[in-house]
């Protein structure tokens, strides 16, 4: 008798637990997104915040812009994120795999790609130019005390150390931005390597995600790599100044990145434009927008609404948190365009 009662109580408790789980699942809207590691710090912070404001749980997996584009195209995630500019083929691929629906791109923040290095004996901030960086990444300049680097950094004692180039091994929007810049300033780079999320690197060690490159920079003396600004700052990695089109050596920060976007007069509706090597004073030349890739029609209407509300929040209230993490806020003009454009999501 007693064992029967115990069993009944146990199964009732089990059912209640299941019901509780099912109930909580029913109330919260859950979405999954994947993509760029470049904005991962601000995205994960936003989604964490947003969960307490609205009953929406957005799980973001930073796997690189390439993974984001593929995930949203294949439909294995609800939305993607990329700092690589999508090609027409990629937009068409989405259309053909998703019943003719369109993939919308929404800019969220602006960020900078900085040349970071590991030179313990050098305390000064190094100066770089675009062509110099191209030559280093092409493998033409092999040592830190090369004449070309010394010329830009008079008075700095550069060590006789081999330059260990660090680059991404995965499909990356950060790579896209960096190679886009190198293509603009070095014809040789444009011809031999080109601009893309994933390129055939002439030299160097590969690491996955911004995190991996930052890790390489931390542990490898003589390393030179490119990472998003916050990754260099958070990991106390020194990063150099880059010469912009106006001839000034600029350090990446909120102001210089915002200037890069301000130089943009005409913004296309989807803002899929490159803002590297922009003209103007105080511009940081390796800056980029980063975009959320959102299908214009969600199978689950609840998710569509949640995404709309999130985007509206992100380009208004969320922008303050972006600045705290050294991402520049969107220019007002563009933020307003985004708010209008979210209406396209169904």
């Amino acid at each position: 008798m007693r064992s029967h009662m115990l069993r009944n109580v146990a199964s009732a408790a089990g059912l209640l637990a299941l019901a509780a789980v099912a109930a909580s699942a029913a109330n919260t809207v859950q979405m999954t997104g994947a993509g760029a590691t470049f904005p991962a710090p601000i995205y994960t912070k936003w989604f964490n915040e947003y969960q307490s404001i609205a009953n929406v749980q957005i799980n973001y997996q930073p796997i690189g812009s390439g993974g984001g584009i593929k995930g949203v195209t294949d439909g294995t995630v609800d939305f993607g994120a990329s700092d690589a500019i999508l090609s027409k083929e990629q937009f068409d691929a989405f259309k053909s795999k998703n019943d003719g629906h369109d993939l919308l791109t929404f800019p969220t923040v602006l960020g900078a790609v900085v040349p970071s290095y590991n030179l313990p004996e050098v305390s000064a901030e190094l100066n770089f130019t675009g062509p110099l960086l191209a030559d280093i990444f092409l493998g033409k300049i092999k040592k830190w005390n090369d004449a070309a680097i010394a010329k830009l950094n008079p008075g700095v004692k550069l060590p006789d150390l081999e330059i260990v180039v660090a680059h991404r091994s995965d499909g990356s929007g950060t790579t896209f931005c960096f190679t886009d810049y190198l293509s603009k300033v070095s014809p040789e780079w444009e011809k031999t390597v080109g601009r893309n999320a994933s390129v055939s690197w002439p030299v160097g060690l590969g690491a996955a995600k911004n995190d991996g490159v930052a890790g390489l920079l931390k542990t490898q003396p003589g390393a030179l790599g490119y990472v998003e600004l916050i990754f260099a700052v958070k990991n106390h990695l020194p990063y150099g100044k880059v010469k912009n089109k106006a001839g000034e050596f600029i350090k990446a920060d909120l102001k210089s990145v915002s200037e890069a976007a301000a130089a943009m007069k005409e913004a296309a509706a989807d803002t899929q434009v490159s803002i590297t090597d922009a003209a103007g004073k105080g511009v940081y030349p390796i800056s980029t927008f980063t975009w959320l890739l959102v299908p214009n029609k969600f199978k689950d209407a609840e998710k569509g609404t949640a995404m709309k509300n999130f985007l509206s929040w992100a380009v208004t209230k969320g922008q303050d948190q972006a600045e705290a993490l050294d991402y520049a806020r969107l220019p007002k003009v563009i933020a307003e365009k985004v708010e209008k454009r979210v209406a396209l999501i169904k």
């Binding site: 789980v21 909580s24 699942a25 999954t32 799980n59 294995t76 995600k209 995190d211 990991n235």
Partner: protein
């Protein structure tokens, strides 16, 4: 006539004995080194937060792996539910019912499945489960790990059932039981300690698998509700944190590694002790 063993032969003998002993000690000391290192670095990072908190946003320090611990448990539960019944019943078939040639074919294919690299199983689970479903899920991860559990389930079941002497079967049948009844109410209970320990070893083996989960379960910063959403798991978290630059995340990776290894080793040791002391050993 007694042959005297020359000094040189005796020296060679002593040297080789010592060398081979040294090799053994070297190998065993690797185990202790790994355990010791994980203990040293992992235990210091184990705190209440690790077991109860969710991971912090990218770039921030602190947080824990509570969702990954539960996530691993959920995925392993699914894997067991998917892989063990199929493997167990197939093992029963091989031990009790099958003819020689068909058994050979099945055993060959089972061995084939055992040799498939885990990343390949991950790819297949992606194309068969994730793509059609349209999202990553604990279910997909459980399917991948479940498929990996099948070969060992088949082999251990067959081995331990065959070890049961036939007089037990004959006795039951003499009393009028059908074949099925004999198997399921007499033979299997007789082999139960071996079967359970076999399943435990099986579970311990897939508990540490990372590659198949990369494209199936993906990951989750929050609690994963149900079994149809992406889910965080311990091995994948260890991998992600190990290749991250933040020192704090490295500490968490050590802690997670320690927890994972401790669980795996406890299950292994328990299972082997059961086998060593069980009826099968006593019969030897």
């Amino acid at each position: 006539m007694m042959m005297e063993i020359s000094a040189s032969r005796r020296i060679v003998n002593a040297v080789m004995l010592t060398l081979s002993g040294v090799c053994t000690v070297l190998v065993v000391s690797v185990l202790f080194f790994i355990l010791g290192y994980l203990l040293l670095h992992g235990v210091s990072s184990l705190n209440w937060d690790f077991f109860t908190k969710l991971p912090k946003p990218s770039g921030e320090t602190g947080g824990g792996m509570a969702n990954a611990i539960l996530g691993s448990a959920k995925v392993l539960l699914l894997a067991t539910l998917i892989g063990v019944p199929i493997g167990f019943l197939a093992g029963v078939f091989l031990a009790e019912y099958s003819g020689k040639n068909f058994a050979f074919a099945i055993r060959y294919v089972v061995d084939l499945l055992n040799g498939v690299p885990s990343i390949v199983i991950g790819i297949v689970a992606y194309t068969l489960v994730v793509r059609p479903m349209g999202h990553y899920s604990a279910f997909a991860g459980g399917t991948a790990l479940g498929i990996m559990m099948i070969p060992i389930a088949v082999r251990t079941t067959e081995e331990f059932l065959r070890a049961i002497p036939n007089n037990i079967r004959e006795g039951a049948m003499a009393l009028g039981a059908t074949r099925a009844k004999t198997i399921f109410t007499v033979v299997i209970p007789a082999a139960i300690s071996g079967l359970t320990s076999g399943m435990m070893l099986n579970l311990a083996r897939v508990a540490g698998e990372t590659a198949p989960l990369l494209f199936t379960a993906l990951g989750n910063q929050f609690w994963s509700n149900g079994y149809l959403a992406p889910i965080a798991t311990l091995p994948v978290m260890i991998y992600n944190y190990a290749i991250a630059p933040e020192e704090d995340l490295h500490q968490q990776a050590w802690a997670a590694g320690f927890v994972l290894l401790t669980l795996v080793l406890i299950i292994n040791v328990t299972a082997r002790l059961i086998i060593a002391r069980g009826p099968a050993a006593q019969r030897r």
